[in-house]
C-alpha cells in the first residue's frame, strides 16, 4: 500500500512537471485523452473485469457526467471540482439505477440495458435545449488558470489526478475482500451467494462506483473541447474503447486497463494525426476480437506466459 501511495504521488508530480518538459500544447491535448481513457477503462473493469458484467453503455455514463457538469456550469458557474463531484454523483446514481433494474437478471440483460440507457439518455439530451440540444453548446473556458500555463495543461493535471484516484480505487477493491467477492460473483454467482457474499449489494456497489468514475471522467469534457454536442459525447467509441482496453490489457489486475488505455489511447492519438479516424477505431475493434479469441488474458496474460517465474 505504501509503495503504491508513493508511486501515485510520483505520477502526480510527474504530471505536474510535464509543462517543464513539453511546451507544445497539443501534447496535453492528446495526453488528456489518454488519461481520460485510463479512468474509463479502469472504471469499466471494476464491474466488467472483476464482477463479469459487461457494460456497453460507457458512453452514456461519460456523457451524463459531462452534461451534468455543463448544466451546473451554465446555471451556477460551479467550479470544476464541484462539477466533477456532481458529474460523478449523477453517473453513480445512473449506475445504481440500471443495476437495480437489471443486475438481478442474467448478465446479457444488463449489457442490453446499458445500450438502452445510452440511447434513451441521448434522446433526452437531444431534446434538452438548455444544454444545447442536438445542435450543441459552445463553452467559454475561464480566461485565467492560476498556477498552470494554460487551461489545457490544468485539465491535463486534473485528469491525471482522476486517473490516479480511479486506479487507486480499483487497486484497493482488487486486493480487498470486496474484490474477492466480485471475482466470486464472476466465477459462480450462486456459489458466491451461498458462501455469504451479498451479491446484489456488491454488484450494485460496483455498478455505482464504476458509473461514478466514468461520470467524473466526463465532467471536464465540455471545458476540454470548449464545446459539447450529444452525438460525439454519447459516441459508441467510448463504449468500445472502455471495453476493449481492459480486455486487451488484461482484466484480472488493476494495471491491465492502464496498459490497455495507454497503449490503445496513444496509438489512436498518434494515428489520428496521420490516418483517418475510421481506420483507427477499426483497429480497436479488430484488436478487441483478436484478443478475445487468441489471448483471453490480455497483454498481462501474454506477459505472464513469457515470464512464468514472476508471481502475480
Amino acid at each position: 500500500m505504501k509503495r503504491f501511495l508513493i508511486g501515485a504521488l510520483a505520477v502526480l508530480a510527474l504530471a505536474a512537471s510535464m509543462p517543464l518538459i513539453f511546451h507544445n500544447e497539443y501534447f496535453f491535448f492528446a495526453g488528456y485523452v489518454v488519461l481520460q481513457f485510463i479512468v474509463l477503462a479502469t472504471a469499466w473493469n471494476i464491474l466488467g473485469g472483476y464482477a463479469g458484467y459487461v457494460n456497453f453503455g460507457s458512453g452514456a455514463f461519460f456523457a451524463v457526467g459531462a452534461y451534468t457538469a455543463v448544466a451546473l456550469y451554465k446555471a451556477f458557474a460551479l467550479p470544476l471540482g464541484l462539477q466533477i463531484l456532481a458529474g460523478a454523483a449523477a453517473s453513480g446514481l445512473l449506475g445504481f439505477g440500471v443495476g437495480m433494474l437489471t443486475l438481478r437478471l442474467r448478465g446479457i440483460f444488463f449489457s442490453i440495458a446499458t445500450i438502452a440507457v445510452a440511447i434513451v439518455l441521448e434522446t433526452v439530451v437531444l431534446n434538452w435545449h438548455y444544454v444545447g440540444g442536438a445542435k450543441g453548446l459552445p463553452i467559454m473556458r475561464p480566461v485565467e488558470t492560476p498556477f498552470f500555463a494554460s487551461h489545457t495543461v490544468w485539465l491535463f493535471f486534473v485528469m491525471a489526478a482522476l486517473a490516479v484516484l480511479a486506479v487507486g480505487a480499483a487497486r484497493y477493491i482488487e486486493t480487498s475482500w470486496i474484490g474477492r467477492g466480485l471475482r466470486a460473483i464472476r466465477d459462480n454467482e450462486v456459489a458466491a451467494e451461498c458462501s455469504g457474499v451479498p451479491t446484489l449489494k456488491l454488484k450494485l456497489g460496483a455498478a455505482t462506483l464504476s458509473g461514478a468514475l466514468m461520470g467524473a471522467a466526463g465532467a471536464p469534457y465540455a471545458q476540454y473541447l470548449s464545446f459539447i454536442e450529444p452525438a460525439s459525447t454519447f459516441s459508441l467509441n467510448y463504449a468500445v474503447n472502455a471495453l476493449a482496453m481492459p480486455i486487451i490489457g488484461g482484466m484480472g489486475h488493476w494495471i491491465g486497463p492502464v496498459i490497455g488505455a495507454v497503449l490503445l489511447g496513444s496509438v489512436q492519438q498518434i494515428v489520428t494525426v496521420t490516418i483517418s479516424s475510421e481506420i483507427n477505431v477499426l483497429v480497436v475493434g479488430v484488436m478487441l476480437v483478436v484478443f478475445v479469441v487468441a489471448a483471453p488474458e490480455g497483454i498481462l496474460g501474454l506477459f505472464r506466459k513469457l515470464f512464468p517465474s514472476r508471481k502475480s
Binding site: 474477492r180 466470486a184 466465477d187 456459489a191 451467494e193 451461498c194 458462501s195 455469504g196 451479498p198
Partner: protein, 234 residues
C-alpha cells in the same frame, strides 16, 4: 429444545409443475440426516429452498427458531446454513485457499489460520496454492465441502458429494463428514448411493414427486414398500 431446522408445509411450483408439495420436516441439533428420493423428486429443490437459492412459494422455514424463508441466501449462510453443490461450482479463477477465503471473509471468522486448518482436515493442505480449475473430481468435491465449512456453519447440507467417486474416495468423504458431525455440526446428506446414506444417517426421509413418502431409521426406510416401489418400480 426446538429443532435446529423446522420446515413446515413448504411448496414450490415451477410454472404448473409442483416440485415441492407441502413438505414438513424437523431436523434436530447435531443430527445426521439423510434425504433420498428418485431423480426429479424434489430433493435439490428442497435444499435450494432451505439454503435460499430459491424462494419457497408457501410454508415456513425456521432456523434456530427464527423464520428465514424471506431472507436472501447470503444471510442464511451467515446465520449458519452452508451447502455444497451437486455439480461442483468452484471459483475457477482462484486458488483453493482463496476459494475458502470468500466464505471465511463474508460469513466466517476471517482468520486465515482457520482456512489452513480446514484444508488440512479435508486433506487438501498441499493443494492450497493450486488454481481450483486444475483439481481432480474428488478434490473438487472436497473443495465444495471445505468451502462450505469455511462459513462456520451449524447446519451443513451436502448435495450428492459422492456421486461419481470410487468406493475408496466415498469412504474418505464419509469419514470427513463423520468427523465434522462429531465436532457438533448438524449434517443433511442428499445421496443416491444408498450404502453411504444408510451408513451415515441417523434418520432418513424419502421424497417422491414433491412429497415425503416416508420417514424413519435407515433400516425402516429400506424396508418401506413405497420406497422400494419408488426406487425399483420406477
Amino acid at each position: 429444545m426446538t429443532p435446529l431446522l423446522q420446515v413446515k408445509d413448504v411448496s414450490k411450483n415451477f410454472g404448473g409443475f409442483m416440485a415441492l408439495d407441502g413438505v414438513s420436516v424437523d431436523i434436530a441439533q447435531g443430527e445426521r440426516f439423510g434425504l433420498i428420493g428418485p431423480n426429479g423428486s424434489g430433493k435439490t429443490t428442497l435444499i435450494n429452498c432451505v439454503s435460499g437459492v430459491l424462494a419457497n412459494d408457501s410454508g415456513s422455514i425456521r432456523f434456530d427458531g427464527r423464520e428465514i424463508s424471506g431472507l436472501p441466501a447470503y444471510q442464511r449462510t451467515r446465520r449458519g446454513i452452508a451447502r455444497s453443490f451437486q455439480i461442483p461450482r468452484p471459483f475457477a479463477s482462484m486458488s483453493v485457499l482463496e476459494n475458502l477465503l470468500v466464505p471465511l471473509e463474508y460469513a466466517g471468522t476471517g482468520k486465515l489460520d482457520e482456512a489452513h486448518e480446514i484444508l488440512k482436515q479435508m486433506g487438501l493442505a498441499d493443494k492450497a496454492a493450486t488454481q481450483s480449475n486444475r483439481l481432480s473430481q474428488v478434490e473438487l468435491r472436497k473443495l465444495e465441502l471445505a468451502r462450505a465449512m469455511a462459513a462456520r456453519p451449524r447446519l451443513l447440507i451436502s448435495d450428492e458429494a459422492m456421486a461419481g467417486l470410487s468406493s475408496n474416495e466415498i469412504s474418505e468423504v464419509l469419514e470427513i463428514l463423520f468427523k465434522l458431525n462429531a465436532a457438533g455440526i448438524t449434517i443433511v446428506m442428499i445421496e443416491h448411493i444408498m450404502q453411504a446414506v444408510m451408513k451415515f444417517s441417523q434418520r432418513v426421509i424419502c421424497l417422491d414427486a414433491g412429497r415425503i413418502i416416508c420417514e424413519g431409521t435407515p433400516a425402516a426406510i429400506v424396508a418401506h414398500p413405497e420406497v422400494q416401489r419408488a426406487y425399483l418400480g420406477a
